[in-house]
Amino acid sequence: MAAPSQRMPTGLKIGLVAFTVVWLILAAFPFLWTVWGSFKVELDFFSIADWTYALTGERTQITHGSPFTTAGYEGAWIENQFWRNAINTFIVCFFVVCTSLTIGTLGGYALSRSGHNYVFWLLITALIFRAVPPITLVSGYLPPFFQWNLWGYLPTAIVVLVAINQPFTLWMLHSFFQKIPKELDESARVDGCTQFQAFRYVIIPVMWPGVITTGLFSFLLAYNDFAVTTMLLAESNRTMIPAINAFLGTTQTEGNVMFAVAAVVSATVPLFILVMFFQRQIVSGLTAGAVKG
């Protein structure tokens, strides 16, 4: 492809590669460092004496007899029962993704197949709703939730997260369904299907790529949420992110910071795996959707 005139001068090329390397270090080093440090004791990870202790694990060696220790993980997962929070996160994410995809596909499909004027206004409304910071809605939720004794439970948080998710889900699925040719379901309608049957037998089988991409972003929203889950879940029902914040609140005793570090690394692992397997979908979702996840 590269015509001679397009070939880069060596200097420029080296510069670009160097820049990429610097960016890669900026992007990845903090995570690698934290993963490495999570297997050390606090005096190594936050070393007053010598920063290289965090690499060699000098104090860890003295305390635990080996430069690596899983004390932070044991403290977080067993002592502080972080596994409960992990299970809660799993429940919340699972139901948020399923519910918001179910009602989102129906709504997004309807928006893409209706030529009426109100579709535009509904999409605009969704865009406005998408821009509202979720934390500002919380003070609207609290009085009725307290009144009807709904506060603190997982289903409440799930329903709220589904609703907050809807505007984004609708936009993405709307633009995705528009790419599926209308002739497909129209011919099914001509053959005597109802609109729902056309959706069920013609659209559902071909919609999975878009639905998976949208589902990924729904998952990320539910998984990454801090403001809503902190405010709406009781202590016993906390998901991982509010639990990490709670660890930070109790950093008085030595070692507790390392619980938080271990918990942070544990919470990053699923996201790491997610990006590894679904990189293509995430990139296409970011570029295709008119909205960011």
């Binding site: 070393s47 309807a110 809605l137």
Partner: protein, 341 residues
């Protein structure tokens, strides 16, 4: 599609949004206009052999009756908006009259929590957004020049800062810039000041949070621009080359115009998202040095005393801010729509 079919398809999602987004928005406006009833007090006089004493007690029945009668609370109009915790008209007016220079006036304003938070929120929004666009563009150009084999690998690591939970990402950075962390050590070595602590300095804290903001959002700009670079019209590039355009001229006159709509798109999205800045303030434990509007809402809602009215008022003001930032997007969408029909 018939109206009726559309209605049934759209009903579940519409209900969810009405009940959990539209209704709370109405609710916060109401809450910002009312305050909870004070308890009704009754004075009783107890007369005994040693004279009379008056004691004040809460009249439980009357209080309950009042609360049942007007569940919204006492109507106070815009009083909460005007109080010291929010727009603080009285304090601002006083500061304006009593200070003799603009600098002194702004430092007085900095003591008012709302304006303090607004200052940081706006600084964060308008510093982060252009810088992350530039960084994202630079990464996109650099990655685009790499061989295809390693691009996937680079994109994988580039996505991480954006995908990880904001609280987690900010904690990871915060632990590194801690005075005992690796970056904190490096910085104090570089400036040759062993006692330097980012946590204790307001400007350094602002810089750290803004750095986090750029770090975590640049990947979004990068991905969008990278996708844009794949669709740069090759014919135009070639004809520019034939006409003798230098490399810089090709970028300036072919690539930039092609990417301009994407820049606008990223800028608008990021302005709105950065205005919501909240998690890094919690993660960096920075409330003493930097607060944002969302953080004030969070702070009012948390703790034992949930100050719903105060939180609702700040919420309304935040939503108004978002609305101002959103208006260009709406105008654009409206124009596109007009253009189509």
């Amino acid at each position: 599609m018939k109206h009726k079919t559309f209605f049934w398809f759209f009903l579940p999602t519409a209900l969810a949004m009405l009940v959990f987004i539209a209704a709370p928005m109405v609710s916060i406006v109401m809450q910002s206009l009312f305050v909870p009833h004070e308890a009704v007090l009754i004075e009783t006089e107890n007369c005994g052999p040693f004279g009379c004493t008056t004691s004040t007690a809460i009249d439980q029945e009357a209080t309950a009756a009042l609360r049942a009668e007007k569940p919204l609370g006492r109507f106070v109009g815009l009083d909460i908006y005007k109080d010291r915790g929010h727009l603080a008209f009285a304090e601002v007016g006083e500061a304006w009259q009593n200070t003799d220079s603009i600098g002194a006036f702004f430092s007085e304003m900095g003591d008012l929590p709302f304006y303090d938070a607004l200052a940081f929120t706006l600084t964060y929004t308008f510093v982060c957004t252009p810088l992350l666009i530039m960084l994202g563009f630079a990464i996109a150009v650099a990655v685009n020049s790499l061989s295809r084999k390693i691009r996937g690998f680079v994109i994988f690591f580039s996505l991480l800062p954006m995908i990880v939970t904001p609280l987690v990402g900010s904690l990871v950075l915060f632990w590194m810039i801690d005075s005992r962390g690796v970056l904190g050590n490096l910085i104090s070595y570089l400036v040759n000041d062993p006692d330097l602590s980012v946590k204790a300095s307001t400007p350094l804290m602002w810089i750290s949070i803004i750095t986090y903001g750029i770090w975590s959002s640049a990947p979004f700009a990068f991905v969008v621009f990278y996708a844009g670079l794949q669709t740069v019209p090759q014919d135009t590039l070639e004809s520019a080359q034939i006409d003798g355009a230098t490399r810089w001229q090709q970028i300036r006159y072919v690539v930039f115009p092609h990417l301009m709509p994407l820049v606008t798109f990223v800028a608008l999205i990021q302005l709105m998202d950065n205005f919501k800045v909240f998690e890094p303030i919690v993660g960096f434990n920075a409330a003493a040095h930097a607060t944002s509007l969302s953080w004030i809402v969070f702070n009012d809602l948390g703790g034992e005393t949930r100050q719903l009215s105060a939180a609702a008022t700040t919420s309304v003001l935040t939503v108004l801010g978002v609305a101002i930032l959103l208006s260009p997007v709406l105008v654009r969408t409206w124009r596109d729509f007009r253009g189509k029909t």
